[in-house]
């Protein structure tokens, strides 16, 4: 069964917010209507976003690392937000595992947001319905777009290719390989929600240069000494090598 998801590489995310603005641009222009955006240039801006990039400082000065952390709906395999919805507006698609909200059925009771430990659902202040990442479901299946563009807007926008998109149930997919080979992990595993989105950890960027990398040494391991020459009266294959 297909489970579409994002895999986010924290090792290369630079926190530029291009995924945030691209997501907002695409999803505020779609058939589902605008995403709220009040006082965008005012004193107290507020609005609905499907995707946020947060920044954390790990370690103690001066040994600190800055981790930029994009966060959107994780499309859990066992989503706690779905069974609590009283109307069935919140659902998980069997075909591709995307968790969606039917904006025409949602009554805006906010119970699904209470039931999500990750805080990725946001109530639209004007439409009064719950909104969340759709994995650009109106884009990834759009056959009017060139095949290369049938990816979520955030993935298209990322300048460092920190966001990978694909089927995490297909072991041969790019995302599955990345999770397998680069220690991909899920957020808050303690709740058993099995998020489909995974994160790739930061890696050490140390380069170790050894002397022998710079200047070649002959026989560096000294394992094979020279063979003894045969005496002139001994038979030899090529007058050099002994038997």
């Amino acid at each position: 069964m297909t489970q579409l998801a994002l895999v986010i590489d924290l090792n290369v995310c630079v926190g530029c917010h291009a995924c945030v603005t691209s997501c907002k641009e695409w999803n505020t222009s779609g058939a589902a209507g605008v995403l709220s955006d009040d006082n965008p240039y005012g004193r107290d801006p507020t609005g609905t976003f499907f995707n946020r990039v947060q920044t954390f400082e790990v370690g103690e000065y001066p040994n600190t690392q800055t981790v930029h952390f994009p966060k959107s709906c994780l499309h859990c395999e066992d989503p706690p937000c779905v069974p609590v919805c009283p109307t069935g507006a919140s659902y998980k698609r069997a075909a591709d595992g995307i968790v969606l909200v039917d904006y025409d059925k949602c009554i805006g009771c906010k119970y699904c947001a209470w039931a999500c430990p990750y805080g990725v659902r946001e109530l639209d202040a004007h439409e009064k319905v719950m909104k969340k990442c759709t994995l650009c479901v109106d884009r990834i299946y759009d056959e009017l777009l060139p095949a290369a563009d049938r990816r979520p807007a955030c993935v298209m926008a990322c300048p460092t290719n920190a966001r990978l998109f694909g089927d995490v149930h297909d072991p041969a997919s790019e995302v599955s390989q990345a999770i397998r080979e680069r220690a991909g992990y899920a957020l808050m595993p303690e709740w058993g929600t099995s998020p489909a989105n995974h994160y790739l950890p930061r890696r050490r960027a140390e380069v170790k240069v050894r002397a022998e990398d710079l200047a070649r040494v002959d026989n560096p391991l000294k394992v094979d000494g020279k063979l003894p020459r045969p005496r002139p009266d001994e038979p030899a294959l090529d007058d050099v090598t002994s038997w």
């Binding site: 976003f49 370690g59 009283p86 947001a113 209470w114 709740w191």
Partner: protein, 322 residues
């Protein structure tokens, strides 16, 4: 969590309505089995049912203010197989219907109706309503208790507290109601009221002690998956507020939350019990009504604290603007 006034009113008003009905039905059962003398005034049962219905209807009305799209509220019964909220949406009107029928049957004098000889229609309707009453307590409590990552709520004590507070406040109202209409019942209703209030104190106290010793499973380490003991947020990703910063924070200081806790511990338990004792000793129906009002205000504070105390794990992601 943000303590929305609509939810505070919804849960407390429903509790009063359920408790009042339960108290009145208990009076009838005791009368039926000749354990206690029943009310002399024939208006006692139908008026009590109407009063309970008024509280339930007020609670129902309050619930609509919690919805973003109240015109679609009818959809909310659909997912009763999985959602406690949908189950509450079914249990509440069913209970209200039964209470209405119960009151109507009393008003029409169907206690010994010739259509069903030997059957007390009101007793049967009341039994059905009592079942629904406790089903509603369970649904209301489970809406909060089923959220496993809100550890303050994820305990059977949540359901128990909702039921006990509902019964205690409903009995308090029943005592005051009897003082105006049926003074003969006041003394033993007051005894039950005191009993339920004290048991509720034990149960809520147990929840407070439990919640004070909670160990959180989610930390900043599990939230972002970085295993380092020192992590702090430097930016939550936006400069202003959002749904996430409004819905999950109570926005008051720790001192304010603590004072609300002591206020409800005072207003729900000792203050109304003192007024109850004074009302019995005087005797004064006004003091008994005041006891109910004081306890109800205390319950609003209790519910406010219940929400404010719940620290949602999503708050780990929203700690610092920049």
């Amino acid at each position: 969590m943000w303590p929305a006034l609509s939810v505070l009113l919804l849960t407390t008003l429903l509790g009063v309505g359920q408790g009042l009905f339960f108290a009145v039905y208990c009076v009838q059962v005791l009368e039926r089995f000749a354990l206690r003398a029943g009310p002399q005034d024939a208006r006692f049962y139908p008026l009590a049912a109407a009063l309970a219905l008024a509280f339930l209807a007020a609670g129902l009305a309050a619930s609509f203010f919690h919805l973003g799209r109240p015109e679609r509220a009818w959809r909310a019964a659909a997912m009763w197989r999985t959602s406690w909220l949908a189950r509450e949406v079914i249990a509440l009107p069913a209970f209200m219907g039964c209470v209405a029928l119960y009151g109507l049957a009393h008003w029409l004098g169907w206690r010994a109706h010739e259509v069903l000889p030997g059957v007390d229609v009101t007793l049967a309707l009341g039994a059905a309503a009592t079942l629904l009453c406790f089903a509603l307590f369970v649904c209301t409590g489970m809406i909060y208790a089923c959220l496993k990552f809100l550890p303050e709520w994820h305990t059977p004590l949540t359901v128990l507290n909702y039921a006990l507070f509902g019964c205690a406040s409903g009995l308090m109202l029943a005592t005051a109601y009897a003082a105006f209409l049926e003074p003969g019942l006041v003394r033993y209703l007051a005894g039950w009221t005191a009993g339920f209030t004290l048991v509720a104190l034990l149960s809520r106290g147990a929840a407070l002690v439990r919640n004070a010793r909670l160990k959180r499973r989610s930390t900043l380490q599990t939230a972002i998956g970085v295993k380092h003991p020192r992590i702090r947020q430097t930016a939550q990703g936006f400069m202003g507020g959002s749904f996430n910063t409004r819905e999950f924070f109570h926005g008051r200081s720790d001192a304010a939350v603590r004072s609300v806790k002591w206020a409800f511990l005072l207003l729900v338990f000792p203050a109304p019990l003192a007024l109850l004792a004074a009302g019995l000793a005087t005797p004064s129906a006004g003091l008994l009504a005041a006891a109910f009002v004081v306890q109800y205000l205390g319950l609003l504070a209790e519910r406010w604290f219940f929400f404010a105390q719940a620290d949602h794990p999503q708050n780990l992601y929203y700690q610092r603007i920049s």
